[in-house]
Amino acid sequence: MDATTAPHHIPPEMSQYGEENHIFEIMQNMLEQLLIHQPKDPILFMINHLQLDNDNVPKIVILGPPASGKTTIAMWLCKHLNSNLLTVENLIAKEFSSLAAAARKHYQINKRVPSMQLVRLIQDRVSEEDCVRRGWILDGIPETREQALMIQTVGITPRHVIVLSAPDTVLIERNLGKRIDPQTGEIYHTTFDWPSESEIQDRLIVPVGISELETAGKLLEYHRNIVRIFPSYPKILKVISADQPCVDVFYQALTYVQTNHRSNAPFTPRVLLCGPMGSGKSLQAALLAQKYSLVNVCCGQLLKEAVADKSKFGEVIQPFFEKDMAVPDSLIMKVLSERLNQQDCIQKGWVLHGFPRDLDQALMMDSLGYKPNRVFFLNVPFDSVLERLTLRRTDPITGERYHLMYKPPPTTEIQDRLLQNPKDAEEHVKFKMDLFYRNAAELEEFYGQALTINGDQDPYTVFEYIESGIINPLPQKVP
């Protein structure tokens, strides 16, 4: 019954399937819901949960001081993501609810709703059909830590929390220019966001409570409360500066809301690095292999090794090398398959570079089942490539490699005897670059989820970008 004598070889198809269909996340969400609600009949509950299929609907909380633009951002996000907006105002405005009526009375007297009632109202609203189906965006709720904890206890957990922040002086000044359209409820501003139609301009009214003193008072209370709400949402909170044009704030909020958080799903990276000659693919591959124990598969190297080993593939490839002709795709594919099928590649993951170079090779690789789960395109402008490659030199006596700009030889004696590899000559580099760019567009289209990185920076910066691309889940596209 034990697996120690014959270790399990999990076929790679299983992990690929698991990743593509997000099986881990589906199960994790189901378990979370089961634990929150603890239904008497778990199987029925699970069936209903799976049928809803609402793991990825927006569940967003937007917090921020008065005049930060919360409501504007919340409304825009709502429209863009086709979701439902929940604010204190529209919760207590609900008809046919005695709870809402009681809350309204309280609000009229004290200008605030008691936390218990507010949380109950939220609970009712969130369990309604349209919130379950299309998600919800809470604007300005929770206002205090007590509310945050109560909402959590009821089982309502947001997936993204955005906190807008701006210096107090900016906010006080901004609040003075606030205007509201009584018909649509949209908020405008005399300087930053003036409506273009004159009929809207005419009906704008000045809202109550925007004098400097009142705004300062509200800000004081806000700061007191927000500090204690931060720890309730440790990993899902993001602070966005509200002291910039609203379109920028909106764009940042939208990108954040569309990212998935890192999950604990098992993940073996299968990375593909694409880029012209001299973009730094081999260097990045070596760094990745070293840090994450991936197998570094360089296509050119693989072929040369096969020839040197005089393996059966090597003997077939050798005549192509001798005549300086390109090795046919099918042959390359065979050598590559042999390497990628080995146990260490399957278990640890791989970093591939130097292949595929055009759409046909990519299609061949895909049909054999080697699908990378992260693809990176390294962009380097032509001049940088030339600079990087044409200044490479090798010392024939020690074998040491130098670069006239980035790693110059220490003495003039060495410098005099340096030689250049004919493959680094300018015409050859140009030829290879053209070849790459002719095929790059098709490759980019084929690998739809590829990430483009600016390769024209120092290697460790590029490495950090690649790392974050591998570790963070791929962003989800808005349907």
Partner: protein
């Protein structure tokens, strides 16, 4: 944080009572083995079958079916005597999740044969579905 502690205990008890973790493990294994095009629909189908099996008391090929039980028996009976010892039998039931730790099984002195093993597993299966 007493309140937190008791809710956590409640949650753990709930998981154990309904054997949720075993169920989820089974569902995940089936998905990865069969790799259906539409995982959600497939999961819903399996869960529906489970519901019906529970309601009508019909034995559902839940964790193990006959070939697996025979294979398990053969693995334990390495010398091919045709019987397994009582200790092995108890361990096997624990692995299948059919024998809660506090139940005492009677050792009637005879070694367990394949047929007895199969019938015991079948007998205990409906209990496991509760």
């Amino acid at each position: 944080m007493e309140a937190g502690g008791s809710r956590e205990r409640e949650a753990r008890n709930y998981l154990e009572k309904h054997q949720i973790m075993e169920l989820l493990k089974y569902l995940t294994s089936v998905l990865l083995f069969i790799r259906p095009e539409k995982p959600r629909e497939y999961l819903i189908a399996i869960l529906e079958k489970l519901r019906i099996a529970k309601a009508t008391g019909v034995a559902f090929p839940f964790f193990m079916d006959h070939s697996n039980i025979t294979a398990m028996f053969d693995m334990m009976d390495s010398s091919k005597k045709g019987t397994i010892s009582f200790v092995q039998y108890k361990e096997a039931l624990k692995t299948l999740g059919l024998c809660p730790a506090d139940e005492v099984l009677k050792d009637d002195g005879h070694a367990i044969t394949l047929d007895k093993f199969k019938s015991e597993v079948k007998r205990m299966r409906p209990r496991a579905l509760a």
